[in-house]
């Protein structure tokens, strides 16, 4: 059953997820003004699946059940599926102007599916069947799942078992006949509070001495012992201001991250997909990271579309839209954005089937994609700020624009003064100019900058992680041979 956006929001109310923010427990987190925009973003992944104009990207036929499912819970069955995934992400970036959070689950499904197949093949375990049963449940219920990988990691120079505090990487603390007990945390978890379930994976390649950390499993978000501490975002408390609208830049949508804590959580055997098979931890990490680096070639592009549009509007409203350097900056922004899209499409088109049957992206091109994502959004933002002008960060608040407090010698109100001096071209009202400048502010350095800037840098792995993969996949020796032939060098 495909849920609607409203059904998704109502389904969250049934969960007893424990959420903390500003040092206190949040009882009604579904309607909390800081959290709700991020829920609205996820709701769009449900809503668009019912719209005939977007259905072709938003849904797919499940290879497990034969039923129509939301693409976010689909196992990619072809390169066409991989391409459509990227297109769907671009679409959602355009519709929300923020991180819509559901990609991590989709990327985890595809990585865990093929890795459990490989583990079973080597060790004769039954993880793959367990996972298939779990994914059928997710597809049938149309659930949002947080694919959680990143451990806090403590002292980066030490392996998990060498850490002073052993909990700095999530690990198995007890093995029972009916399941396992895990302890630790996952940091920076995108959309965790908005997810029905959590699908956990290890965060790095592991050695035998770290086998307790080689664990993958799924639990409901309200499992006993599991809780979340909300990650604050720049300018987040603007959402608490009474009647906040224009100053938010993007009133309806947003992203979300949290620290997810596993305080001795029990996981029944049927939900365990890896337990101590340390030699497959690196494979799982690599596959998940590959998919997620592909994802950024879609989602960030969609948000980039919104930012480019906002910059173009700002140019119109400032009356500089005909200036050649402005036109050129918009061209440059478009060029950078579409380059990211090219990478997302390319690594998808060059995908290949895994032994389990689902499709994996081209690893080299996916890493090149993400490496570009660590740079280009910053340049796109820089150009947007250049076009917008300083007013995007010096503008009075919307309360000032609405204030009827008389302050001028002729009885002018604060609102009238603001409107008089901050008017732009006749193409827009002062309020419209304010709105678009606040949207740029939101993406450049407000709440959405978490998703568009720093997440572009560190999400799906920091830049150096991609460079390691590019070095591994770059095939330099073959390139040397090419050069030898052209240069007439006969030495082997």
């Amino acid at each position: 059953m495909l849920m609607t956006g409203e059904q998704y929001i109502e389904s969250l109310r049934k969960l007893k997820t424990r959420v903390y923010m500003f040092g206190e427990k949040v009882e009604n987190w579904v309607d909390h003004p800081i959290i709700r925009p991020s829920i609205n973003s996820v709701a769009m992944t449900y809503e668009l699946a019912h719209d005939p104009q977007y259905e072709d990207l938003m849904t797919a036929k499940s290879n497990l059940t034969g039923e129509k499912v939301n693409r976010f819970s689909h196992l990619h069955q072809s390169t066409e599926d991989l391409v459509k995934k990227v297109k769907m992400q671009r679409l959602l970036g355009q519709k929300t102007g923020s991180c819509f959070q559901r990609c991590v689950g989709m990327d985890a499904f595809n990585a865990v599916y093929s890795t459990t197949y490989d583990i079973d093949k080597k060790y004769g375990t039954d993880y793959h069947k367990r996972f298939v049963d779990y994914l059928k449940y997710v597809q049938e219920e149309d659930l949002t799942v947080d694919g959680a990988m990143t451990d806090p990691k403590g002292d980066r120079s030490k392996a998990p078992s060498a850490q002073e505090d052993k909990d700095l990487y999530l690990h198995v603390v007890e093995k029972r006949e009916d399941g396992i007990v895990v302890r630790g945390a996952k940091a920076h978890q995108t959309g965790s509070i908005n997810s029905h379930e959590h699908l956990i994976m290890p965060t790095i390649a592991l050695r035998e001495e770290d086998k307790a950390y080689a664990v993958s499993f799924a639990v409901p978000s309200d499992a006993e012992g599991l809780f979340m501490i909300y990650g604050r975002q720049s300018c987040d408390t603007r959402k608490l201001e009474e009647g906040a609208d224009i100053d938010l830049g993007n009133k309806k949508f947003g992203g979300q991250e949290a620290l997810v804590v596993f305080d001795d959580v029990f996981v029944p055997n049927e939900r365990v997909f890896m337990c101590e098979e340390y030699d497959f931890a690196g494979v799982l990490v690599e596959r998940f990271a590959g998919y997620h680096r592909q994802s950024y070639g879609g989602c960030k592009v969609g948000v980039g579309d919104v930012l480019i549009g906002a910059a173009a509007l700002a140019a119109d409203y400032n009356g500089v839209n005909k200036a050649s350097h402005i036109k050129d900056k918009l061209i440059e922004m478009t060029h950078l954005n579409e380059t990211l899209y090219c990478c997302g499409i390319a690594c998808s088109s060059e995908g290949y089937p895994t032994e389990a049957g689902n499709y994996q992206i081209d690893m080299l091109l996916a890493n090149v994609c993400k490496q570009n994502v660590t740079r280009f959004p910053y340049e796109i933002v820089r150009l947007a700020e250049d076009i917008a002008g300083g007013l995007m960060v010096t503008m009075p608040s919307e309360q000032d624009f609405r204030s009827d407090l008389k302050v001028g010698k002729n009885g002018e109100t604060i609102g009238e003064i603001c409107n008089k001096y901050l008017v732009g071209s006749p193409a827009a009202t002062t309020e419209e100019r304010m709105r678009v400048l606040r949207l740029i502010e939101n993406l450049a350095l407000g709440t959405a900058a978490v998703g568009y800037r720093t997440e572009s840098m560190h999400g799906a792995g920091s830049p150096q992680a991609q460079r390691i993969m590019i070095a591994r996949q770059g095939n330099i020796e073959a390139k040397k041979e090419l050069a030898k032939v052209i240069a007439g060098i006969k030495k082997n």
Partner: protein, 103 residues
């Protein structure tokens, strides 16, 4: 009442399939509305479903790639594809041709 039902059944049934709209170069929904307006009640347009038999499929893409999937739908006379606003007239012409033949 029976006569009205029979007349309804005689109308050409056109299943409509959109691409997913990741970066459409024109308003695909408005293009469909223009085509529907032109034919008024002569063609029955509906969003394509897998368990329905159509006379013809109209596949509306947002760009030249026109990546919409449509092989899963049943159509007696195949499909007409468009990926630009400029194609509206061509689509109307093709549908008129089909109506002419079916009469």
């Amino acid at each position: 009442m029976k006569i009205i039902t029979e007349r309804f059944d005689l109308k050409l049934k056109c299943g409509v399939r959109f691409c997913g709209g990741c970066n459409p170069r024109y308003d695909r929904g408005r293009a469909l509305e223009k085509i529907k307006d032109y034919f008024k009640d002569r063609i029955e347009f509906s969003y394509a479903k897998e368990d329905v038999d159509y006379d013809i499929l109209l596949v509306i893409g947002g760009c030249t790639n026109n990546c919409a999937s449509f092989s899963q739908f049943n159509s007696k006379l195949g499909s007409i594809k468009m990926w630009s606003e400029d194609h509206i007239d061509k689509v109307i012409e093709e549908l008129e041709g089909i109506l002419l033949k079916s009469n």
